[in-house]
């Protein structure tokens, strides 16, 4: 569904952000790009819909090379959820969700039906939310609208850049569960960027651990735990396990809160 072949990005300053990265996503698969900030994961995501132009290499979406395509048309065919959400503040929720369908020239009746369907799906009853403005919504509600907007034009590929990063844990948990549900219902192929290991484990079919513009290892969560490729990957994955053990100890009363090891 989505392939990146030897893709590199060098920024004008000469900084190499992504270094000959290759990645294949099967239809319906969710891959998480996991890594610290500055590892090149967001740049990788943006090269797919050409918000950032690749310096070299080839990217194919649904078997078609993106290089020869009109970037504007390419973007209308790919859903994108932004780290900064980026709702259009002067438009209603319904207008925001309808952004891409309108650009594609859908007729209004179809747009209205689609907007209502999606708002329902992301848990915002349309009769209450359709006419609201983004500034009347909580952060979690705004990001739900962001997800609905990305899905509106019936894109099969969804790119998500730290979609839940700015949300409180309860809201994040709820949205993550809903994403899984929506993904199953719509058969979406998702490439998601995060620095949150727990989020990666909860959402991914496969996790690609990135560092310095390269993928260090790509595998299912189980495989990553079983055979980490190097010490960096091992320590990264060890952290949620140790946290979870400590939480269980705290609950059993065998370990005081605010414990020692934090590495």
């Amino acid at each position: 569904m989505l392939s990146l072949r030897e893709v590199s990005k060098t920024y004008p300053g000469g900084q190499l952000a992504v270094d000959r990265l290759s990645l294949e996503l099967a239809a319906g698969e969710t891959v998480v790009l996991l890594g610290a900030s500055g590892c090149g994961k967001t740049t990788t995501l943006k090269m797919i819909n050409r918000l950032v132009e690749a310096t070299s290499g080839e990217i194919l979406v649904d078997g078609r090379a993106t290089k020869g395509m009109d970037p504007v048309l390419l973007r209308r065919g790919i859903g994108y959820v932004f780290q900064g959400i980026g709702l259009f503040p002067h438009w209603t929720v319904a207008d925001n969700v309808a952004s891409t369908p309108r650009l594609l020239g859908w007729e209004e009746g179809r747009i209205r039906a689609r907007v209502d369907e999606l708002l329902e799906r992301v848990g915002l009853p349309p009769e209450n939310y359709r006419e609201r403005r983004p500034d009347e919504l909580s952060g979690g509600q705004q990001q739900r609208v962001g997800v609905a907007r990305a899905l509106a034009a019936e894109a099969k590929v969804l790119l998500m850049d730290e979609p839940f990063g700015a949300l409180d844990p309860v809201t994040r948990d709820g949205l993550q569960r809903e994403l899984i549900r929506v993904r199953e219902q719509l058969g979406l192929t998702i490439l998601l960027v995060t620095h949150d290991v727990t989020e990666a484990l909860l959402l991914a079919d496969r996790i690609a651990v990135m560092d310095h513009g390269r993928i260090e290892q790509i595998a299912s969560p189980t495989e990553l735990f079983a055979s980490p490729a190097n010490e960096h990957v091992e320590r990264l994955l060890d952290m949620p396990r140790r946290q979870s053990e400590r939480i269980q100890n705290i609950l059993r009363g065998t370990d005081p809160p605010g414990g020692r090891d934090d590495s």
Partner: protein, 507 residues
């Protein structure tokens, strides 16, 4: 001030106000129509934004009056066109600056999202950047509106009628009522425009279609209502043959224009006065047939147009300028009106007597300890050079004044001697003495009636004006000037009295 004066001035208000509204609104609409696309280009190529705003800022630093005056030689014509061009240029900076900065300061996350959902650059501009920076853009338009209303008052000297006609003629004739009316009209217009734009802004912010239509309807209604007094002119209304009478920016010229108009109206013409024109503007206007007739002075044409530096006898000057004007510009010099408004040097009587100064020769002896005042153009005029060189005049200090303030300045002792005009009513009123010119260094300044080529070709027009030739002596002119400048009588009344006193046979 008295109520008759107010009533007299109020009669001009609808016409001046209407022209002012048309100028301002026209300039503003054109300014917006030009600025927004330019801003759009600058936003797409931020490299262009700097130079573009730079150029607009430079235009802004040119003083308004100078920018307007510059348009006359640049466009080769006077009237509404140069005024409109200057006002449009002037209105563009605040709109451009606010649009460019406002649009570029829209949240980067929102812009990235707009690209991400698949908007083209044009769509991002029109659907995201412009709407989100609308309050900033509208603020720029409001600034431009207020500036344009103010600057439009300065379009009088380039021949575009506006509320500035009140202000310029009022300052010249010391008619406070006229000045106040001009200022008040401009203030009302500025407040009304600003209010309407704010209403439109509010409608946009609230997405209130009814308020938007209301403000648009109010705007159109206001413009239509304000411009009805001149709608007839715009549509070509009157059946009578039209004549445009020009006048420069001082009292005598206002009176002469009214006098000519009075004669023409009596002879069955429809006369329109274009007063407050700059000294060179008015000549060009006649040469380009944008006005039909005005009074100039033989010495002015001699020095400014023929570029002659030497002086000559009044008769020779009149004869030579007549030949030259006809040959070079097909302008007909119908003849001298009879009075002479020459440059002269005037002092307070007590001061002149104390120093024993009677002539320019005496003045030259004391010049090194005296200060001299002149109107804005005097010290760059050949007359001044001629006097300076003929008498070896070297003053301690040289100051420029508005010609109305010059007389007050000398009578209050701010300067010792001024370049007065020989027909000025204030010479007698302020008890000034005019110094003799024994070396005859100052050229003659006979008032001459000049007609454009097309006017000269209309025998009925020429016949209507011919009786004025030789009918107006120095005393009559000085008396008329005095009545306006010192008695603060309305110009048209004084001109009417003058016309009746000329004993010209009427039809």
């Amino acid at each position: 001030m008295n109520s008759a004066q107010l009533e007299n001035q109020l009669a001009y208000f609808p016409g001046y106000f209407a022209n002012h509204v048309l100028l301002t609104v026209g300039a503003l609409v054109l300014g917006i129509a030009l600025s927004l696309p330019l801003a759009a280009v600058a936003i797409r190529r931020p490299g262009l934004a700097g130079p573009l705003l730079g150029v607009a800022s430079v235009v802004q630093t040119i003083p308004g009056l100078a920018l307007l005056a510059l348009m006359v030689p640049l466009l080769g014509r006077i009237g509404v066109v140069p005024a409109l061009v200057a006002l449009v240029l002037y209105s563009m900076l605040p709109i451009l600056r606010n649009t460019v900065t406002g649009a570029l300061e829209v949240d980067a996350n929102v812009i990235e999202a707009a690209r991400g959902v698949g908007m083209t650059d044009d769509q991002i501009l029109l659907r995201i950047r412009f709407p989100l920076s609308a309050p900033v853009i509208v603020a720029g338009i409001r600034t431009a509106a207020v500036w344009t209303v103010g600057m439009a008052t300065l379009s009088t000297p380039v021949g575009a009628t506006s509320l500035g006609n009140f202000i310029f003629s009022g300052l010249q004739t010391q008619n406070t009522v006229a000045v106040l009316l001009g200022c008040l009209g401009a203030a009302i217009l500025a407040i009304a425009l600003d209010g309407l734009i704010r209403m439109a802004e509010l409608a946009a912010a609230r997405r209130d279609a009814r308020l938007a239509w209301t403000s648009l309807a109010l705007f159109i209604a206001a413009v239509v209502l304000a411009t009805t007094p001149i709608a007839g002119n715009l549509l070509g209304g009157s059946q009578r043959p039209r004549v445009n009478v020009g006048a420069k920016t001082f009292t005598e010229q206002y009176i002469l224009a009214e006098l000519i108009a009075d004669r023409l109206e009596t002879a069955g013409f429809e006369a329109t006065i274009r007063d407050g024109l700059g000294s060179t503007v008015v000549f060009q206007a006649l040469a380009h047939e944008e006005i039909d007739v005005y009074v100039d002075y033989s010495g002015t044409i001699w020095a400014n147009q023929l570029k002659r530096k030497e002086t000559a006898s009044a008769q020779r000057v009149l004869a030579e300028i007549k030949t030259w004007l006809l040959a070079e510009h097909q302008i007909l010099s119908l003849g001298a009106l009879g009075f002479e408004n020459a440059y002269a040097f005037a002092m307070r009587r007590d001061r002149a007597e104390a120093l024993g100064i009677e002539t320019l020769l005496d003045l030259a002896l004391h010049a090194s300890s005296l200060s001299v005042g002149g109107d804005y153009e005097f010290f760059s005029r050949p007359e001044w050079i001629a006097v300076r060189d003929a008498y070896g005049m070297k003053f301690a200090e040289q100051r420029s004044f508005d010609s109305t303030l010059m007389y007050t300045a000398v009578s209050e002792g701010h300067v010792d001697v001024i370049s007065a005009f020989s027909t000025d009513g204030r010479i007698a009123a302020f008890d000034l003495v005019v110094l003799d010119d024994p070396r005859e260094s100052l050229p003659p300044y006979d008032g001459v009636l000049l007609l454009s080529r097309s006017a000269a070709a209309r025998p009925d027009l020429v016949n209507a004006l011919r009786p004025l030739i030789g009918s107006l002596d120095d005393r009559a002119m000085r008396e008329a000037n005095r009545r306006v400048d010192l008695d603060h009588r309305p110009v048209d009344e004084v001109a009417h009295e003058l016309s009746r006193g000329l004993a010209i046979p009427r039809r």
